[in-house]
Each structure stands twice: as C-alpha cells, then as structure tokens.
C-alpha cells in the first residue's frame, strides 16, 4: 500500500463529504463535515503497520461491495492505490476489504483526537453552548447569525426544542483559544434529560465555503444542570 483514501458521501442533509487520506508512513489528513468535531485533522495513524498489513491483504483479494445503496444512505469508499471497494455506511463487507473497512470507520472517529484546524461544541451549559476552536492552525468561519438548536430528550421522546443565535455577521479566523457562545436562553433541561445541540455554519477551506454541521450530545447529570456533561 502506498496511499489509502477513505470517503464517506451522502447527499442527504446534512450532506456528508468526509475524507481520510493515509500514506504508507502513517501520516494522515482528514476532513470532517459532520459530527462532534468538524474541520481539518492531521497527524499520525497509530499502529500503521497493522493498517498497511490489512490493506495489502485487501489488495490481493477481489474488490467487493456495491455503490448502489438505499435512499438517503451514506456511501463509503475505500481506495488503496487505485483499487476500490464501496458499500453503504450501515452495512458490512466480507473478506479483507471488510476488515479494512472496519478499521477505516474506527479511524475516522479516533483520528478526531488529532485536530489541526477544527471546531467543536462545548456543552457545559445547555442554555449557552459554545463553539470552540481545536487544533494548532486557524480555521476561517463565516458567521452569519450562527444558530444553535437544542433538543431535549427523555424516554425516547423529544420533549422540547430550543433555538438561539449569536447576533453577529462576520468572517473570523478562529485560532487557538477562540470560542463563541450562542445563547439559547430558554433551554432549561432537567436532570436525566438528554440534550443535543446542533450548529450549522460555513467553514472556509482553502477559500471555499463548505457547510458543516457540528453537534454535541450530553446527559444532564445533576438536578440543577450546569454540571459537566458526558459528551458523546
């Protein structure tokens, strides 16, 4: 294996176009457009030998899967040196490509621990979620009255949904330490509620504005709220 690319694509809103590129030496670059942390990621893949091993075995077997998937599903594709396998994101593959696929899926989540220029939501206070910069490099954000939706869930039911926005219109270059609070004053979840916060905004990536959806989930652990949530 010289180079592995793993992509997730979905046209279904919020559209996913996420990509992970890994070189044989273990260095990686990743772009995430949805999830708890979005933006650019880079670093080194742990246990690259195992990944290369799996990829080489996959290369010696027949490509598998299908790029025909269910409506609204997400398509995943692995490309190893020009050899590809494709499958819907909620299905599994047999054989060595299946093993490789499983590893790539896990990496796309694990490698979020190595942000380069990314943002996530800090949900200390559900009525004032904060966008926070992560990583070492700046990320240009287009902030046109960025809005947060706070969903409150209990016993499989959404009991409330709140909405608030920060009244700013500007393009900022978020760097280390940058954060933006988005007030959602009505959001007062109770102990035991699950809270989900979602924020959509445009992130400039090499000058191209891309829609990203960042989200956070927390369980309100103490009766009076405000206690550090268990971010998922």
């Amino acid at each position: 294996m010289k180079k592995l690319t793993f992509r997730r694509t979905s046209d279904s809103p919020p559209a996913e176009h996420e990509m992970l590129e890994i070189d044989a030496d273990g260095s990686f670059a990743m772009w995430r457009s949805t999830g708890r942390m979005v933006g650019r990621f880079a670093g080194v893949v742990p246990d690259i030998e195992a990944l290369v091993h799996d990829a080489d075995r996959a290369l010696r077997s027949s490509p598998a899967g299908s790029d025909r998937i269910a409506m609204d599903a997400t398509l995943e594709r692995i490309d190893v040196d020009g050899h590809q396998a494709a499958i819907a994101a909620d299905l599994t593959l047999d054989g060595w490509w299946g093993v490789l696929l499983k590893r790539c899926r896990a990496l796309m989540s694990e490698l979020c621990e190595q942000p380069k220029a990314a943002i996530e939501i800090d949900l200390d206070n559900p009525s004032a979620p904060r966008l926070v910069h992560r990583g070492t490099e700046p990320l240009v954000l287009e902030l046109i009255q960025p809005a947060a939706t706070v969903g409150v869930w209990r016993d499989r039911d959404q009991t409330a949904e709140y909405w608030g926005y920060a009244d700013i219109i500007e393009t900022v270059s978020a760097e280390h330490g940058w954060q933006l609070e988005i007030p959602v004053p009505d959001a007062r979840p109770r102990h035991g509620d699950n809270v989900i916060v979602e924020i959509a905004l445009d992130v400039y990536h090499d000058g191209v504005p891309l829609r990203v959806h960042v989200s956070a989930v927390a369980e309100i652990a103490a009766p009076d709220g405000g206690v550090p949530p268990n971010a998922v």
Binding site: T5, P14, M19, R68, A73, R77, I196
Partner: protein, 721 residues
Amino acid sequence: MPHLVALQHSIGNAAVGRLVQRLDDPDALTPAMAQQLARRLKDAMDGWGTDEDAIYGVFTGRTQHQVNSIEAAYRALFGRELTTDLSDELTAAELRRLATLAPSEPAAAPTSPAADSAAPATPASTASPPAPSPAAPAPAAAEAGSSASPAPSPAPSPAPTAAAPAAGGDVAAAMPMTPALAAAAERANRAELAARRLRSAMQGWGTDEDAIFAVLTGRSAAERRAIADFYSLTYGRTLEFDLRDEMSGSELNEALRLLGQGELSSADELYQAITGAGTDEARVMRVLEGLAGDRARIRRTIADYRRKYGSLLVALNGDMSGAELTTARNHLGHIGHLTAIQEVIAGGEPDLLHQVPDFTIVSTADRLLLVARVHTETVVGDSDEGVLERIWGTADMAEVAAQNQSLYAASRDRGAEIPATLTTFGRFQNNFVQDMFEGGITAGDGIFDWTLVGDRLNVRVPIRFQPASGVTPPYATWQTQINNVWNQYAICEPGGRRIPVQFTMVNDSSASRTVRVVKNKVPGTLSPEDRANAGKFFEVMRPSTVPHEFGHFIGLPDEYQRTHGDFVEITGMDKTGPTNTSGRTEAQIADDLHTALHHDPAANRRIEVRRALTAAGLLVGGRAQQGNFAQDVMGEYNTRHGTLKDDLISQFTFEGSTQSDSGDRWLFQTVFSYASSSIMGNPGMFAPDPHQHPVEPRHLREFVSIVQQRNPTETWSMGAR
C-alpha cells in the same frame, strides 16, 4: 256458449276451433305426442330396410283425428308427405295390412258394438282405410295381422272372469248410447288392437322394442288404461309386468314412461338419448333445440330430469364436450346457466360453469361462492380460468374485488388472466435510482396497495421491519408522524366530492421491502450520528424522518441535490436565480469552464474553476447561485464539451484528490443542482421553508390519477381534507 264467443273474439276462430276439438276429443294427440309418433315413423323408414312393425305400432288403434295429427306433424317436422313415404317404403300387402289397423272414423259416430273395454270387438269390423293414405288401397278384408304377426290377434281373448257385460255386438248396438259411452266403446276397440300388438311384439324371438314404443307412444290416459285393462284381462298378466320382464335399462325406462305418460317428456327423451348405448347426440340436440327459448319448458324439463334421473347438466357434461356441449348448453340458455350456478353453489362440479357466458345473472355474493368453488378444483384448467375471468371481469365486480382482494389474488394465482389492478384497488410498484453527486447510486422501490371504495382511498404500505435484538419499533409513533404529514389531504373535484387519502405503514412479514430498526447511539435519544435511511430506522428519529422515507416507500424520489431536469420533472417548478450580467455569453462561460476543468497542472484546476464561476457570477462570495443561468451554462457545456457533471467528477480524479478537491467539487456541483424544501427535499434537519408545504400536489399525483381513472367524468386534484 258465451264463453266461446268471447274467446273467438279474443283469440280467433282457428284457435278456438283447435280448442273445441281438443275439448271434444279426449284422445286427441298432444303436439308432443304427434311429433314423437312422426319421428318414430321416420326412424322406422330411415336407414337400411324398413321397420314395418314399428310402423304398424304407430297406426295401431288410432282414430282418424290422431292419424291426421301424425300426418300433420310429419309434414311439419320433415317437410314431406307421410303418405308418399309410406307408399315408397311398404309393399302393397303391407299397406293393405296397415289399412286394417286404424279406424277411419273415430269417436264421432261409434260404430263399435263393444260397450266395455274388456269385451273385445272384432277389429276387422271397424277397420277402415287408414287416413294417411287418402289414395290408399281399398280396405282389405279383416286380416288384422293374423298372417304376419305371431300373435293371435283376431282371436277373442279368453276373458277369464268376464263378469262385465261382455255381451255381443248386437246387445251393445241395441243399447242407447250416450256420447261418452260410445266413445268408451270405440276406445276399447282400439285398445284391443294396441294390446294385441304389444303382446305380439313381446313374444317370439327377442323383443321388438321399437314396435312397443310405437304402440305406447301417443296414447291418452283413457287409452292407456283401456290398453292395460285389456291386456291384463286377456293375458292374465299386467302389461307393466310383461314390459319389465322383457326389457331393462333405458329401454324399460322408455316403455314405462310411455305407459305412464303416453309420451316421452323432454327430460325422458334426453335421458334416453344420453343413457342409451352411446350418446345419441342428434336426439339430444333435437330435444334441446325444441326447448330453446321457452324458459318455462326448459325449467320444467330440468326439474323433471332432476326428479327422475338427477342433474341434466351433469349428464350433458358427462356425455358431450367442446363445441357440441356449448351448443347444447346454449339451447338451455338463461335457465340452464342459472341451474348450473345453483348446482355448483350446492356442491356440484365447477365444470358446469364452463358454458356460462355471463355471471351477472346472479348476485355478486353468489359469484364469490362460485369463485371459491372453482378454487377448490385440484387442477384449475383453462376453462376454469375462463370462468374466473368472466366472473371477475364485469364492472360490477370491481368493488367486490376490492373488498375481497385475497380471493381475487387467489384467482390470479390459479392462472386467471385478470388484471392486478382494477379501478377499485391495485398495487403500485416502481423503482427509481438517483446518481449521487460524488458518484454512487441511491436506489429505491415504491410499493403500495391501494383500495378505492366508498369515496375513500386507503393506501397500505407494507414493510418488513427487522428490529435488532432488544429493539421495539414504535410503530404507533411513526404512524402518527405519517398522519401529521401525509394524512392531511383529499382528492377533490369542483362539484364538492372529496376522497380522503389515508396512508398506513404496515409491518408485514411477507413484504419484499425490509427496514432494519436499530438502537440509537445514545439509547432513547437522537444523536446527529444516527443517520436513518430507507433501509435503516432508529428507535428514535426526527418527526420528519419517517415521513420522508415514507415518501420513498410510495415511490417518490428525493428532491435535494438534483439536476435541473430532475428538479423540474419531480417538482414541476423552476428556480430562476440571477441573470447573466457577466458580459459574456453562456457559451463563452461554458468554454471558460471547460478550459479551467482541464487546466494543467491538475492541482490548480479547482482554483481556475472557482475563478471562472466567480467571474461569471455563478459564485458570489463563494456561494453557489443556482438557477436558469447556471443551467444554461451547463446546457452549453454539455452541447459543446460533453457532460459537465462527468467532468466535474473526472477532472478531480479520485486518486490524486485532496481534501479541498472534495469540498470544491461539492461547491461546483451545487451551482448546477437544485433542491426543494418539501418533505422530499429537506428531511427536516433544519427549519423548512414556511412558504412551502411539506406535501405538494406532485407528491400525490399518483393518487389523483387513481381517483381520476375511477371517476373520469370529473376533474380531480389534490386538496385539503
């Protein structure tokens, strides 16, 4: 006779004349009798040789009236003169003998000396030339068959008891005769002749059945009594006993029917024709043709047959087939078809239905019973399929079929070529594929069953849900969500009729479409990672997710990230977007775009493309400007350089791609795509456009057309409930 005068006024002289004659002559032949006798004569003369004994049997002991009737019937049936035919077939001696058998002058002026039927007169004394031959040879002296027949016909019977006034002719002649008495005496003379002929037919080698039938046919009740009385008094055995002794099977049946009735009823004739050695198809057809069109007689015949022999229709089915059977059944017409249906409902063989051309003669409830009966056949053949097709095929069965869809489906399963979809119910099936913007294909199937009965359109959408272990799918919640979006509409016409459309998603283990149901990442809570699709649901989803996927289940494609053509086709609406103020034509912009997409080195292509799009005004502040302008540019590109969309994918090659390529391509493609914010365009991740309804008329087009097809005279469209 005031009655008669009145009758003459109303029905005419000729008819009254016939009536009077019939009233006056108790031994007059019924038309059926005359016809049967004429046929016996024809049979006796047809074919190889002539059956003289049968001919004698016909004429033996007939009155002149009877002979006249036979002659007339013969002429009517065969268009020939009986006299001529007899003269051709019989020798002079035979003709002379014939002349001795029937008296020329019947009851009118009793010439017989006999006052009692038991007292045999000398047949010769009353014999005159038989009427059929006006120019017949002169009456010979009484020979009364003594030479030809082994029976001692001229000899008086021993008359063992003779308690009756068996006096000689002179005594009788001396008695003053009432007309009734005179008639009885004359009848007794004729009965004696007939009885003797029967006796002779039964004696000797074998039995001459045709002669027996000929004698017994066409005797009135009084005549039959007289014949039987004479026979038993003379020979010491009852006539019936001897008939039973000499004959068996269908021949005995025929003889006994004649003895009991004087004629064969249509049922009897049919039975004889069917039961005798081999079916006498010609005879069956002849009887049936005679019945054709006369519902009362057909009804009587079928009932008579059933009483005596069982089912006529079963008998016909057993002995005939193909076109012949069809013809036979057609003669029985409406009554025959009704009978067949009744017999099948009562448990008879469904084969009886093969000849029934139209089942609307019975209620729809009865028709359903027939369908069920046909389904019980172990082998449902072509003819059975035809029955099912004719039953289901009438317009009035459309609603019935809708209310009995499993029965209807069973008929189809058994091979009946009936449409899967009527105007009252049906199954919709389609499939659709959508190219994903970055390659790949999403594919969906629309499948639903609909029923349109009583101004209500019910749509059932079957899904085989496959819950993961520990997952209980919240079906009721999902249905409520569907109700909130989809069950808000009716199909309406300007006159005010409204047909509500009711959608139901049904968990059906036999459904071909499956949806897995899995736990949420955070159980009980919808996380953003819980991305449902048409093949996978979560226990908890957004309220708009099931309604969106439900739209796919009823055959609707997505309305996001579509090409302009798709978008217009799907949504029926257009987006105008900005106009071209760039100072360059769409064709020039397309060329610019083409150059940019093929820029070398490849790494700079995205910058070149962005620059071209920005210069054209299709990217403003980095944002895609969808609309007609963009579409016109794409149209020019496609005309001049191949497919733009393909180039957008291929020119940012996968292997050499970088993360930003992906983002760029997405942006560029967005310029040339469209989306609606209906339930099919935006599954509700973010607030929908308040100006657009989640369900638009285009989404209910299929259902409007279902209603339109059923009610073609009105113009239907989607409206509120």
